[in-house]
Structure formats: structure tokens, C-alpha cells
């Protein structure tokens, strides 16, 4: 087990280094002076640009610059956002809470719904119901998530007036306690559903395949031969085995859901990272954009590592086979 974990961490380190280098190179994409990328398009106090120029060694060779950049990052210094008048790192972390508040319930719902759909569809492979689940997942892969959000707003907020169209809390009244929680949940429904749809598609597709695979295994035949009911076999024998690939696909697609959340937030004015991202595009607040890319990329790498560990916990065969090879 330890060898397996070390190997997965060994995989993550060079990837993170590569991401840091990509981020460093992006600074030099700005036409003209790279100081623009580090400061943003802002009237800055006199001397500040010079201070940054020195801090990042912009008059030095590229490799020295890379080194200084990494040293700054290692100290948790992702730059300063003049638009928000605060350092980039706490700014992003503060907004990340709201993005997670949007993503985590959506992911949970998507996982459950996707598995339920697949469990219902797979034993009837080829039936009309099965085909419609396949169709749903195809739609989930193709629909522009921000457009789906707009359509939901038009239908459920504007026409039917069932749900709020924008924001995370009601601004007209100040709520406390459980009423405030309910209010946030109420605002969560539409953006949450928009984030969910892609995930339902991914989970349903993978779960359907893995349920079909598990159904054809010998242990299922054995269980049936023992006289167990089809339903019992499905829940006790097929499901636990089919869940392993589902757990991994959820973790590996963490990056997609972050992207989805960013797009959905702009439609629903949800105050998370996505909203910060679009505001920073408008303000040409480059350090924040780069910080968001860096932190989300690292988050995705972490999600991958955690997924691998989970995989090893769920499936003893993984760590077992690794030990033998290593």
C-alpha cells in the first residue's frame, strides 16, 4: 500500500511542476511588458511596478526569472489584486468556499442519480429505457452548460416564478438560522442542476458499462445459482463492484466540474471563483486569472491523487497487484 501511495505522489510532483512552468510561461504571453501580467492593467502606485520588476527579476535571464517566480509561489505569494485591493491567494480561497458549496451537493446528487439510472438501465440492455439513458448521457455531453442555465432561468425563474434567478441569498430580507440555510438551498437548485447534468452523463455512462460488466461475471452466476433473488444480487453483489469505476470517474472529472461551475456561476451571479474569474477578465486583473488557473490545476491534481488512494481502498486488487510489480 505504501509503495502504491508513494508512486502516486511521485506522479503528482512532476505534473505540478509542469503546471507551475506553464503558468510562468503564460506571463510572457502578454504582448509588450510582462510586468502587465504580474500587476494587471491598473494605475499602480509609483515605484510598485519597479518593486515587482525587481522581485521577479524581469531584467534577468529567463531561468533566473523562473526560479524567482517559484520562490515567490513557495512563500504563498500569488501577487496582489489591485481591483480587489487584497492579495490574490486569500481572495481566491475566500471565493472557493462558495464554489465548493455549489459543486459538492451537485456532485453528490449526480453520483447518486447517475448510478440509479445505470442500475435501472443496465439489466435491460437494449430496451427503450436503456436507449433513453444513453440518449440522456449523450445530451449531457453536448449541451452548453451556460445555455442550460439560461434556459432554466427562463423556464423556472421568469415564466413559472418557482425559483430565484440570480445570486446566493435573498437580498430583500435578512434571514438567520435555518431560514438562511433554506434560502441558500433554494438559490442552489437551478445552478446546482446545471452543474449536475454533465456529471450525470459521465457517471451514467461509466456506471452502465461497469454494471453490465459486473453482471456478466462468474460470481453473479454463482449468486443466482444459490437461489438469491435478482434484486438481492443486483444490490449486494453487482453494485459494490460497479461502484469502483464510478468513484474514480467522479474524481478524475473534478476539473470538468470546476470548469462547469465557473461557467454556471457567471449565468447565475453565484459569488464563487467563476464570478471572480469573469470580473477579473473584465478588469484585466491578470494576477487573479493566473492564480485561479494555478489553484484549480493543483486542486485537480490533488483530486486525482485522492481518487487513486480511494481506488486502492475500494479495490484491494489494485494495491495488491502494485506490491507484486514494485
Amino acid at each position: 500500500m505504501r509503495a502504491y501511495l508513494l508512486a502516486r505522489l511521485g506522479w503528482a510532483v512532476p505534473i505540478v511542476i509542469a503546471i507551475l512552468i506553464i503558468n510562468f510561461l503564460i506571463i510572457h504571453l502578454v504582448p509588450g511588458d510582462p510586468i502587465q501580467a504580474l500587476v494587471g492593467d491598473f494605475p499602480t502606485p509609483p515605484g510598485y511596478a519597479e518593486q515587482i520588476r525587481k522581485e521577479y527579476g524581469l531584467d534577468q535571464p529567463l531561468l533566473t526569472q523562473l526560479w524567482l517566480y517559484l520562490v515567490n509561489l513557495a512563500g504563498g505569494n500569488l501577487g496582489f489584486s489591485f481591483a480587489n485591493r487584497q492579495p490574490v491567494l486569500p481572495l481566491i480561497l475566500d471565493r472557493a468556499r462558495f464554489t465548493l458549496l455549489l459543486m459538492l451537493p451537485a456532485l453528490t446528487c449526480a453520483a447518486v442519480l447517475g448510478v440509479v439510472l445505470a442500475l435501472a438501465a443496465a439489466p435491460r440492455a437494449g430496451s427503450l429505457y436503456d436507449s433513453s439513458v444513453t440518449a440522456i448521457s449523450l445530451i449531457g455531453f453536448s449541451v452548453p452548460i451556460f445555455w442550460l442555465g439560461q434556459i432554466l432561468i427562463i423556464a423556472f425563474a421568469i415564466k413559472l416564478r418557482w425559483l430565484p434567478a440570480q445570486g446566493m441569498i435573498s437580498l430583500r430580507e435578512t434571514l438567520t438560522g435555518w431560514a438562511a440555510v433554506a434560502d441558500v438551498l433554494w438559490h442552489l437548485v437551478l445552478p446546482g442542476f446545471s452543474v449536475t447534468i454533465y456529471y450525470i452523463a459521465v457517471v451514467a455512462r461509466v456506471a452502465r458499462a461497469s454494471v453490465l460488466d459486473a453482471l456478466s461475471q462468474d460470481f453473479v452466476l454463482t449468486a443466482k445459482a444459490k437461489g438469491l433473488s435478482g434484486r438481492y444480487v443486483l444490490w449486494r453483489h453487482v453494485l459494490p463492484n460497479a461502484l469502483i469505476p464510478v468513484a474514480t470517474v467522479i474524481g478524475y472529472n473534478f476539473g470538468y466540474s470546476l470548469t462547469g461551475a465557473i461557467l454556471v456561476e457567471t449565468v447565475f451571479a453565484w459569488p464563487g471563483i467563476g464570478n471572480l474569474f469573469i470580473a477579473s477578465i473584465g478588469n484585466r486583473d491578470y494576477p487573479v486569472l493566473q492564480g485561479i488557473f494555478l489553484l484549480t490545476a493543483v486542486a485537480v491534481v490533488l483530486a486525482n491523487v485522492v481518487t487513486d488512494m480511494l481506488y486502492a481502498v475500494l479495490d484491494p486488487r489494485v494495491r495488491g497487484s502494485y506490491g507484486k510489480n514494485a
Partner: protein
Amino acid sequence: MRRFLDRFLAYRAGMTAGLYVLFLIAVAIAAALWPGIDPHEISDRAMVAPSMAHLLGTDELGRDVLLGLIYGVRVSLTVGFSAALAATVIGVLIGAAAGFYGGWLDLVVMRISEVFQVVPGFIMAAVIIALSGPGLSRVVMVIALLAWPQIARLMRGEVMRVKQLEFVDAVRCLGVREWVILGTEVIPNSLAPVLAGATLIVAQAILLEASLSFLGLSSADIISWGRMLNSGQRFLFNAPWLSIFPGFAIFITVLAFNLLGDAVGSALNPKTQR
């Protein structure tokens, strides 16, 4: 019978998708050739709901939505096809070299492609475009940069399979040089799975371009579907048609390329062949 029906259905979905793509290409060409129509033309008939005069309504500047959609086809298809083509050329060359020669080259290529698999591509594309400025050619380059590893992986796997086949050894016995074998024998025989992959990249590219334009990361004077959704967002309450139709166009087009890619994939896969 059921199996036949399934095949027929899959075939029909792929066929319909293919016909739709041909239709889009025809629309794009017709829009380019038709003289005297300007989709940018501003009129005093602003925010008119869909009617006989304006089938899909007009926007806040009185521009016809249907006309915008027709001219937007060109942007989506241009970006989709050029990005897929660029990604495919890069991916085929790199993937083939990695699969054929193996060794450290293979190792390096696979590690690099892993980085691109993990990195949240859309965010990276948005940051690059935000910093370097909008422009269709930049968008195409960024998408190609993000998508080539998919093709490279497919190509590498197929090349590793094909290079072990007997006919390759036969050619080698004739004294043909290694890189000539790769170029004239191995690569042409490994292209089938790449074709399906490239079609799926067209779908991803169209969706990505639309997402970037939706965030405002495209030049304001080029009409594109994503851009139309970007301005529609402000008028969801009084002019929902500004959002409904362009988004539907993106959805159907992406769906068509996804279906087409799946159909191409299963048609070329010997395991599912009739």
C-alpha cells in the same frame, strides 16, 4: 432483430448528424457568397419578438437573430475544423513518433500529454486568451494545443499495434529506411481511430469557442453563437429568444459532431463491423 434495430438506429443517428453537418457547411458557404446582406446591420426594430418579418426576433440593436445564426455558422465551423485539423496533424506526428521509436521519446511525450489531460483546459484557454487578446487564430491555436494529446495517445497505441504486423517486417526486409516505413506504411495504416477522435475534437472545439465567446473572450465585431449568448444574458427577462436560439444551435451542432464521431468510430472498429 433487436441487434439489427440497434445497428440501424445507430446508423440512422450518424447519418442524420452527417446530413446536418453538410447542411451547415452549405449554409456557411451560402452566407459567404450571398451578396448585399449585412448581419451587422442595425435597424430601429430593436428587441422585436419572433414574427413573420423576423423569424427568430431581433436583438437590442435591431439585428436579425436568424441572420446572426447563419453568419455564426462560419465561426463555429472554421474554429471547429481548423482546431481539429491542427490538433490531428500535431497529434499524429508526435504520437506516431512516440509509438514507433519508443524509449525516452515515448516517455516524454506521454508525460506531457498527461499534464494536458489533468490541467483544466477551459480555464487555461480562457487565461491565455484573456492575457494575449482575442482572435480566432489564437483560439484555434489554444484549442489545438489542448487537444493534440488525445490524438497522440490514439495514434501511439495504434502505431504500436501496427508496427508489429508482418507486412511491416516484409517492407523492412526490402531494405527500406525506418522513417520511410513509418511515413508510408505505418502511419497510413494507423489513421482509422484518429478519424473518429478528430471528429469528437471538432465538437469540443465548437463548445470551447462558444464558452470563451460567452465569457466575452472574443472580438465584439465578429458575430458568433457564443457572443450572441453573451449579450442575451442581459436580456433573459425581456428577450429570451436572444438566448434560446443561439444556444440551441450550439447544442445541436455539438451533438451532431459527437454522434458523427461515435458513428465513425464504430463503423471503423472491426469488432462492430457487419
